[in-house]
């Protein structure tokens, strides 16, 4: 589903002493099937933004369009339930929301709320547990007996079982061990491609944004600060530093190589082995540069 924000502002507790404008004059477009990273320091408005994507918040000013659904301050969306079925949100630490007796029941909770029949639910539960890389026998266990990483996957499976078209991920790897982080991100990327989802990733990790996204939106104080292709946005060190962000580590390192050896290496998504080869030829051939 195509998504667009047109001049969107959101104010918490308007006309009270606690009034707080979290996003302001925000406009952007996300085309169907893309993988977009939303990046910004703590308090830049990321969480407020994503709560508009499934109608948890309605804009105070402006208009949000998600496929055929429109959100604005003027009128309540009648098909809110339908919107929420099609936009799946994985919130921060989603495992805190597990509550059922068994993993299977927890995964089934979402679809059964949307009136999916029980045969279809079992089919989807099975599919979802496989998609998150957990063994089938786990379905009959209590989610609370699982490890942190497994609980996270069960919670994600619950979102996948709704068959969403848009997947919104709010810091999905926070608190996971390094291997878990890679596995979970690779899993989302695979799902994104297989199911042709529109994926929106909110992250503090410039590395993940660079690695997985094809478009990056950078927020600062509730407004859009920059947007573009990751390899174009993430080289702008000065601009990023100004909003408390930094360039990804690989690009930082390439900058330092340029400073020391006087040779520019540009990052274009190449792997570490390729970078190693490029470095090798620099140290071999540097004589000619001096």
């Amino acid at each position: 589903m195509d998504i667009s924000f047109k001049n969107v502002s959101y104010t918490y507790q308007p006309n009270t002493p606690f009034e707080h404008r979290a996003i302001h004059g925000l406009s952007f477009k996300i085309s169907s099937g893309s993988f977009v990273a939303i990046v910004g320091h703590t308090g830049s408005g990321k969480s407020t933004l994503i709560q508009h994507l499934n109608g948890l918040l309605r804009p105070t000013i402006g208009q949000v369009t998600i496929g055929g659904f429109q959100l604005s301050s003027e009128k309540k969306l009648k098909q809110m339930k339908e919107l929420r079925r099609r936009v799946g949100v994985v919130f921060q630490y989603p495992e805190h929301q597990l509550f059922e007796e068994t993993v299977a029941k927890d995964i089934a909770f979402g679809p059964s709320n949307f009136g999916v029949d029980s045969e279809e639910i079992s089919r989807r539960t099975l599919e979802a547990i496989k998609a998150v890389g957990l063994p089938e026998p786990l379905l009959e266990r209590s989610p609370f007996d699982l490890s942190g990483g497994q609980m996270r996957r069960v919670a994600i499976a619950g979102v996948l079982a709704m068959n969403p078209e848009v997947l919104v991920l709010d810091e999905p790897t926070a608190g996971l061990d390094p291997r878990g982080q890679t596995e979970v991100m690779d899993m989302f990327y695979q799902l994104h491609q297989q199911k042709q989802l529109t994926t929106i990733l909110v992250t503090h990790s410039m590395e993940d944004a660079l690695h997985y996204a094809d478009h990056v939106i950078i927020l600062d104080h509730g407004t859009k600060y920059m947007e573009g292709k990751p390899e174009e946005v993430f080289v702008k060190k000065k601009e990023l530093n100004k909003v408390q962000l930094d360039v990804p580590e690989v690009i930082q390192f390439l900058f330092k190589v340029e400073k020391k050896f006087g040779v520019r290496l540009t990052y274009h998504g190449q792997g570490l082995n390729e970078i190693a080869n490029e470095l090798h030829s620099i140290i071999k051939g540097a004589d000619s540069i001096e």
Binding site: T42, G175, G180, F253, L272, I275, A276, H280, I283, K284
Partner: protein, 279 residues
């Protein structure tokens, strides 16, 4: 021989009789001025270790000593005077309405006289570079600033060890950097042991020593450099190596030889430079 500050002697722990062992026969020591990073996959027992050190939990088997005191029901209040803890979510640890009040809280609980309290608040907020924020509301600070105030509150009670349990996990990159800079400085200046429990690979490279946990057991105790030479084994137990270490491995695989396995950008650049001048 150096006197140990924290000592685990054959410690085993589980949350209930029917439950699996979270820690199995764990023994290690931490010295008074050391920075030790404890790492391990989710569920490897890292956070349980932190809770055992200050008596939030007690082991079923084995013994734990902090500054020579056996940690048990009777000694926990003495032990906790020496052990400060900073947790993951800064919002969960604030009590005061201003930064100053928040730091004062721990001191009031200990009945510290007013003048000394003022001095300690000044010193500890200066140590974390938050002395310009005395009257700010903690909730309005950035993530990194909040954690710095949390660290100041701990420093004010002058503990002998500070434990940071995933204290940077929820912070943005700038916040992470602030905290790392703060604790490096604090550890340099004050006479203090530091235990950081973390998944952040770059954070680990700063520690003096690393304890790697795997399935409730100590898998390895070594310097960060030694730990990160074991990339295959680390991956097998749910961990990984930092970017620089990975890049160095790629360079090694195409024939480069390093004197020291590089851990920081500067070290790798230096090694490359040495190569370059030899060519």
């Amino acid at each position: 021989m150096r006197e140990s500050f924290i000592e685990f002697r054959n410690v085993s722990f589980r949350y209930g009789e029917e439950q699996p062992w979270v820690l199995k026969d764990v023994s290690f020591v931490i010295y008074p001025d050391e920075w030790v990073a404890i790492i391990g996959h989710n569920g490897s027992g890292k956070s349980t270790i932190a809770k055992l050190i200050n008596g939030l939990l007690f082991p079923q088997e084995g013994e734990i000593f902090v500054d020579g005191v056996h940690v048990n029901q009777d000694s926990i209040w003495d032990v906790r005077k020496n052990v400060g803890m900073v947790f993951q979510n800064p919002d969960n640890q604030f009590v005061g309405t201003t930064v100053r009040d928040d730091v004062a809280f721990g001191l009031e609980n200990r009945g510290i006289p007013r003048q000394e309290m003022i001095d300690r608040i000044n010193t500890s907020l200066t140590a974390v570079a938050m002395n310009d924020y005395f009257l700010h509301e903690p909730h309005r600070l950035s993530g990194g600033q909040k954690q710095r105030v949390a660290i100041a509150s701990i420093l004010a009670i002058s503990p002998k060890v500070v434990i940071l349990d995933e204290a940077t996990a929820m912070l943005d990159p700038k916040g992470k950097l602030e905290i790392m800079r703060t604790i490096t400085e604090v550890q340099d200046k004050l006479d203090l042991a530091l235990v950081t429990i973390t998944h952040d690979l770059n954070e680990i490279t700063l520690a003096d020593r690393v304890i790697v946990m795997n399935e409730g057991q100590v898998w390895l105790e070594a310097t960060p450099r030694e730990v990160f030479t074991k990339k295959e084994e680390l991956r097998r137990i749910g961990l990984d190596t930092p970017f620089i270490s990975k890049l160095a491995d790629e360079l090694i695989s195409i024939g480069l030889v390093f004197n020291n396995h590089p851990l920081s950008h500067e070290e790798l650049l230096e090694e490359l430079w040495t190569y370059h001048s030899k060519m």
